[in-house]
């Protein structure tokens, strides 16, 4: 990696000031994407601002109808939280299937969501459940948060602080893992919530997206058969050495069908 300065602020305010005072600074959460990128010399920040010592970013709180997860909660913590396992088992399941044990003990929900890797799992849950993302300056609806490949509504210096998930009636996440990386080649999060049925797809395209035809079909009938014959257009989907856009489109349907079955199980 290239040389950089390293800071470990104690408060969000201090973090913001450090960000403003350092030309090309980056926030460091769990580092599961950033550190490998630094090692490969694919990123050259002048400073890393480690969010690890800031109080108030961790913890998981259940309330009436919602669960709020602090940005610094690790995948391991989410996967093993009694509150989440009870309220939104699909979210615990998703977290348990991110990466490997080392990644799950270091990687954080806030880091993953703010990074918005097209093949990350968490964006599917955030979008699929219609969660609310809270930052240092505002709250953002999931539908407005993910804007493109590695792009979000977060502005320069804005720090994600927690995410509030509505507790669904039924939900499930089904991932078809890339055989090599085990990232989602196609991951589908299906949720039946008070606000309606939502279907979010990660891995298949440049950014997580909602599959409205499936949502409409599932609103009429929340059964696997309702989506089994819905063909997804491959036109905006990824194509690479692991599979064509057509294959991914097909997998969206298969994973959606299986997710609905799992949600009903």
């Amino acid at each position: 990696m290239y040389q950089f300065q390293y800071f470990r602020p104690k408060s969000l305010d201090e973090a913001r000031k450090l960000f403003e005072n350092n030309g090309d600074a980056k926030f460091l959460a769990g580092g599961q994407t950033l550190i490998p990128a630094l090692k490969l010399r694919l990123a050259q920040p002048t400073a890393l601002i480690d969010l690890g010592a800031i109080a108030g970013l961790s913890g998981i709180k259940a309330a009436a109808g919602t669960v709020t997860v602090g940005a610094r909660a690790t995948h391991f913590e989410v996967a093993n939280s009694a509150d989440i396992k009870k309220a939104i088992p699909a979210l615990a399941y998703l977290a348990e299937h991110v990466g490997d044990p080392a990644v799950r003990h270091l990687g954080t929900i806030g880091g993953s969501v703010a990074n918005n890797d097209p093949a990350a799992d968490y964006p599917a849950a955030v979008l699929g459940l219609g969660a609310t993302v809270k930052t240092t300056s505002r709250t953002i609806n999931a539908d407005d948060f993910f804007s493109g490949m590695f792009e979000t509504a977060l502005e320069e210096g804005e720090i994600l602080t927690d995410i509030t998930f509505p507790i669904p009636e039924k939900a499930a996440y089904m991932k078809f893992a890339n055989p090599a990386s085990r990232f989602a080649m196609v991951g589908v999060f299906v949720a039946k919530t008070k606000a309606g049925v939502r279907v979010a797809v990660t891995g298949a395209a440049s950014c997580v997206f909602r599959e409205s035809a499936m949502e409409a079909a599932l609103t009429k009938s929340f059964t696997p058969d309702a989506v089994a014959n819905i063909k997804v257009s491959p036109s905006n989907l990824n194509s690479d050495i692991h599979g064509s856009a057509e294959y991914r489109a097909h997998l969206v349907t298969v994973m959606a069908k299986r997710a609905v079955a799992a949600a009903l199980a």
């Binding site: 990696m1 290239y2 040389q3 055989p179 990386s181 692991h242 599979g243």
Partner: protein
């Protein structure tokens, strides 16, 4: 301790240090004053180098030296060599382009070595390397072996027109053509043997050190054969005379073939250590391993099998394009020729065989031996077409094989090999039983009720281990003999130090070799030390590859014969008996028919004290050496059966059961043999279902250059194996052993792919059978059926 230790599942002596983190690998070695090297590599697959400006890098604080190909040339350092001469069918020698350790004028693959930067720290070296200004002109890349010989393909080496290194053939063409003329059935099959990237757990590393006091160099390196590396670096590259170059291969964390070869980094770090007067250390990053370790396989093949009306094989012809990459690596030429064509008879009595292999240059990393080396490629061709023949003739796969098995030994094939022994029915029978073959139709029917596709596939394989005899391989072009040496030193207190040229990098030689010594001498295994991997302690050795440790063990066995003979002579004097009356049993030298005896350690002490025998007749001391040159290869064989289930919705293939029954002759340590089989099958399943080294055919960029895109097998990709052993003891070595290290990787890909194609009902389908490819094949079949 008795001879029964041979054949026992003795726990591995070396594991204590490995699993407690006390292994000593090359990267663990740090020398006083050491500097660190970074290799600047080509980002282009093919480009002319117009200029290299290293001044800014050289001026960077903390940089000890920056060198390019021009500096090596100025010191008259030779390039890397390919040590096996292969001739084309027209008699012309292979056309090899130069292989400079650092590029001169041109780079030929992504990862090719452009310059070395040596600095106080690795980070400084890397930073400085970014200041090197390389002026280059990109050339069109040629990365597809199937197109490398076509008129439009970019020329990689002027020495090899049409990018063709050789057009080799083996077998009898007229007889083969005659066989096809009279055939009742001809089965045709096109196959691609996918490129693999070895991925040893320990990346390659090198520490070069020059000693100004002695004028000698030491190279610590990740090598499977340090003596051969020294020989090549001395005699061909001209680094230093052999006696002024010590090569140490300490603990090595996996090789799989990829550490047989002499690589640019080893040569350049050693050479540069004199230039900068500091030890120079380099350890590959994983990305560099992907780019620059020699890759494996990469064949494009068409095969045809001729059969008579009774399904007896009449002839077999094979045409293969073998991709050797951008340069010829150390043994690359031999892999798709003498290690491939010679195995095309498989377990079958085939009267006529003809094979032609065109080796081609492409703008990809060099390709050389990888676990199995040529034999997996041969087995894949043979076993896939045999299975296809059985299907087309609507015969049971097992029975069709049986119909054509070789049953009389020795058996001379039309492709050089003389099989000494085997019992192919025995391994097939045992495997059929373990696999519960007879109930497969019921299992397939049950799977169908769940919407799943079941398939079963066979691979009845043979392979050739040991790479010998020396004169035979010499006549085929090998630049070295393929014997092995051993020296057995008995200490005055009866401990035994064994010096072997057979390097151990995961095989467990420190255990298996010690078992043989302990068993022969009747001493505790703890009293035996196996020493390998350092040219300053072991006189010479050919190294470990090609499942040839049996050669090293036989050399040890021969040295032990001499030890025993000398000990008997000494014991005779000490016991005041005639030499002829001395017998050696259970570690004791006895006067036959009496109770007079000496323990092994007592004879050892007498040998060194030298009070009780005439030193004019018997030299003091107890130390013997042997060089063993085998009289034949060893021919392990066996039967693998794979049963798969495919989910047609996702294309995921699950291995339900994997059966492997192998005939390795007499086994020294069944636990270690089982481990070798497990590892080999894991790599074979990896090739069949997961692994694929992919270059972009247009740009020549490596698309599978990390674990994000190269699918290394993980534990949950693999089933538990059902294993069995049969035994026809090998007649060509005293212990009756055959090689066991590669069989798993050789046999299993065909078994898996025969099962996959059985499940899918398709004929031609290339590895790896990834979910996407399987799904695509199902779509094609459905579209064709509609």
């Amino acid at each position: 301790m008795t001879a029964s230790i041979i054949g026992s599942p003795v726990r591995r002596k070396e594991d204590h240090r490995f699993i407690t983190g006390q292994g000593r690998y090359t990267d663990d070695i740090n020398r006083p004053g050491q500097a660190y090297a970074y290799f600047l590599r080509s980002p282009h697959a093919h480009a002319k180098i117009k200029s290299i400006d290293v001044e800014a890098a050289r001026a960077t604080k903390g940089v000890a030296g920056v060198f390019t190909g021009a500096d090596l040339a100025a010191d008259k350092l030779g390039g890397l060599i390919c040590g096996w001469m292969v001739h084309s069918k027209d008699g012309s020698p292979m056309k090899a382009g130069p292989h400079p350790a650092l590029a001169i004028d041109k780079v030929r693959y992504v990862g090719d070595h452009v310059a070395i930067v040596i600095a106080d720290t690795y980070a400084i070296a890397r930073d400085a390397a970014e200041k090197i200004d390389v002026g280059c002109e990109e050339l069109p890349a040629n990365a597809d072996p199937a197109k490398a010989q076509t008129a439009g393909a970019a020329q990689i080496h002027a020495e090899a027109p049409g990018n063709t290194i050789y057009q080799w053939e083996l077998g009898n063409k007229p007889e083969t053509e005659a066989a096809f003329k009279k055939a009742a059935h001809v089965i045709k099959l096109n196959l691609i043997n996918n490129r693999l990237i070895p991925n040893a757990m320990e990346p390659r590393a090198a520490v070069g050190e020059y000693d100004d006091g002695t004028g000698g160099y030491t190279l610590y390196t990740t090598s499977q054969n340090p003596h051969v590396a020294r020989l090549i670096m001395s005699a061909f590259i001209g680094l230093a005379p052999e006696h002024k170059l010590r090569v140490v291969a300490p603990d090595v964390g996996g090789g799989f073939g990829s550490k047989i070869f002499v690589y640019a980094e080893e040569v350049v770090c050693t050479w540069a250590s004199k230039k900068v007067r500091r030890p120079v250390k380099w350890t590959a990053e994983r990305s560099e391993s992907f780019l620059s370790d020699a890759h494996g396989r990469d064949h494009v093949t068409s095969a045809e099998l001729a059969l008579d009306a009774n399904a007896r094989i009449l002839g077999f012809r094979v045409k293969t394009i073998a991709n050797l990459g951008a340069y010829m690596s150390t043994f690359s030429s031999s892999v798709p020729t003498y290690l491939y064509g010679t195995l095309l008879s498989g377990q079958y009595d085939i009267p006529a065989i003809h094979v032609q292999v065109d080796a081609v240059y492409t703008n990809t990393a060099p390709v050389d031996a990888y676990r199995g080396a040529g034999r997996p490629e041969a087995t894949y061709v043979v076993e896939r077409i045999i299975e296809e023949a059985a299907r087309q003739l609507k015969l049971d796969s097992a029975e069709f094989r049986r119909k054509n098995f070789i049953r009389k030994f020795p058996h001379q094939t039309p492709v050089i090999m003389n099989y000494d022994i085997g019992d192919y029915d025995a391994s097939l029978d045992a495997a059929l039983k373990i696999a519960d073959y007879k109930n497969f139709p019921a299992r397939r029917a049950e799977a169908k009720t769940r919407g799943k596709l079941r398939g079963i596939g066979f691979s009845t394989y043979i392979e050739a281990c040991g790479l010998a005899p020396s004169a035979a391989v010499g006549s085929l072009g090998a630049g070295v003999g393929l014997w092995e040496s051993a020296e057995v030193r008995v200490t005055p207190t009866g401990g035994v130090e064994v010096f072997t040229g057979a390097h151990s990098h995961g095989q467990g030689h420190e255990t298996t070799f010690a078992q043989v010594v302990a068993g022969r001498l009747g001493i505790p295994i703890e009293n035996v030390e196996i020493i390998h991997g350092d040219t300053s302690s072991v006189q010479f050795g050919m190294g470990t590859y090609g499942s040839r440790a049996a050669v090293g063990l036989t050399a040890i066995s021969r040295a032990l014969d001499k030890i025993e003979e000398k000990a008997k002579r000494i014991a005779a004097h000490v016991l005041e008996a005639a030499r002829a009356d001395i017998v050696f049993e259970n570690g004791e030298f006895k006067v036959a028919g009496t109770d007079r005896k000496l323990a092994f350690h007592e004879v050892a002490l007498n040998a060194y004290v030298a009070h009780k025998f005439p030193t004019s007749e018997i030299e003091p001391g107890l130390k013997e050496g042997a060089f063993h040159d085998p009289t034949n290869f060893t021919f392990p064989s066996g039967c693998h059966i794979c049963e798969v289930e495919i989910d047609p919705e996702t294309g995921i293939t699950t291995i339900i059961k994997f059966t492997a029954v192998d005939d390795f002759g007499n086994v020294i340590n069944p636990m270690i043999v089982e481990g070798q089989v497990h590892g080999g099958i894991a790599q074979g399943i990896g090739q069949a279902l997961l692994e694929h080294g992919v270059y972009d055919p247009e740009s020549g960029q490596l698309l599978s250059g990390s674990y994000m895109d190269y699918t290394m097998p993980r534990a949950d990709d693999l089933p538990s194996y059902s294993l069995g052993l049969t035994n026809t003891p090998c007649p060509s070595n005293p212990l009756g052993m055959k090689g066991c290290g590669e069989a798993g990787a050789i046999a299993s890909p065909a078994a898996v792919m025969n099962a996959v194609t059985d499940a899918l009902g398709v004929k031609e389908f290339n590895m790896p059978a990834t979910p996407a490819r399987v799904w695509q094949a199902i779509q094609h079949s459905r579209a064709a059926a509609e």
